[in-house]
């Protein structure tokens, strides 16, 4: 009688993933920022142009109204308090240039306010590529 001996020794499979995965170069992923600009009504086009030249992936506009002290508005005859609010997503490596150009636009053409908020998470690489405008 012959007993079939079952080979039970687990073949030691080497997991090479960890060794082969080491990236040869650092990943060029930069953080995203949510950039909000508030300008007077009908001044959104120039701001969007600035954002577009700095590879903003997405921008949308809504209308609002300012709440600066009303007495002063009436006194100066500036009853138009309509504002354009521009929301955009830009890469943080572009933020210094955008800031500079928006500041000079505020100085030259129209007063306004702009600020950036850090985006903490994005779901999925395709969304990241869309928002950061790095699609190939």
């Amino acid at each position: 009688m012959k007993m079939a001996k079952v080979e039970t020794s687990a073949t030691a499979v080497e997991k090479q993933m960890a060794e082969t995965k080491a990236p040869s170069q650092p990943n060029p992923v930069s953080r995203l920022k949510f950039f909000v600009t508030i300008v007077d009504h009908n001044h959104h086009k120039e701001v969007l142009k600035i954002l577009r030249t700095h590879e903003s992936g997405l921008g949308f506009i809504t209308h609002g109204r300012g709440t600066g002290t009303k007495e002063i508005y009436d006194l100066l005859g500036l009853s138009d308090v309509r504002k354009d609010i521009i929301f955009a997503v830009i890469r943080s490596d572009q933020i210094d240039n955008v800031k500079k150009e928006v500041a000079s636009y505020f100085k030259k053409e129209s007063r306004g306010i702009a600020f950036a908020i850090d985006i903490s998470s994005v779901i999925g690489t395709s969304i990241y590529k869309y928002l950061s405008n790095t699609r190939v």
Partner: protein
């Protein structure tokens, strides 16, 4: 450069003056208002058989970090959830401010 905080306040329609007056008293200079629509409590509609207008107004105010707490407290007192304004307010840090 001074740090700024963005205060976002969502109140029922028509309560923005209360919010802005309260914020201005604490040192905020100005805000921007836009419109929105609340989505809370869809059961109310079924119960009453007609839709209640959920119109909201959203106020965004950029303030210095030092007065943020005072402004939030004042807004809560003037138009918070216990009042008819039924407002909520929160703040978040912002970077790279331009134009202030």
């Amino acid at each position: 450069m001074e740090k700024h905080e963005l205060i976002i306040c969502i109140v029922n329609n028509g309560f923005t003056d209360l919010v802005m007056d309260a914020a201005r008293k604490e040192g905020a200079r100005g805000g921007t208002i836009f419109h929105g629509r609340g989505t809370g409590n869809p059961d109310m509609e079924k119960f009453f058989g007609f839709s209640i207008s959920p119109e909201k107004e959203i106020i965004i105010i950029l303030v210095e970090e030092t007065i943020k707490d005072a402004v939030l407290k004042a807004i809560n007192k003037a138009a918070g959830l216990e009042t008819n304004g039924k407002g909520i307010a929160f703040s978040m840090p912002v970077s790279d401010t331009v134009g202030i």
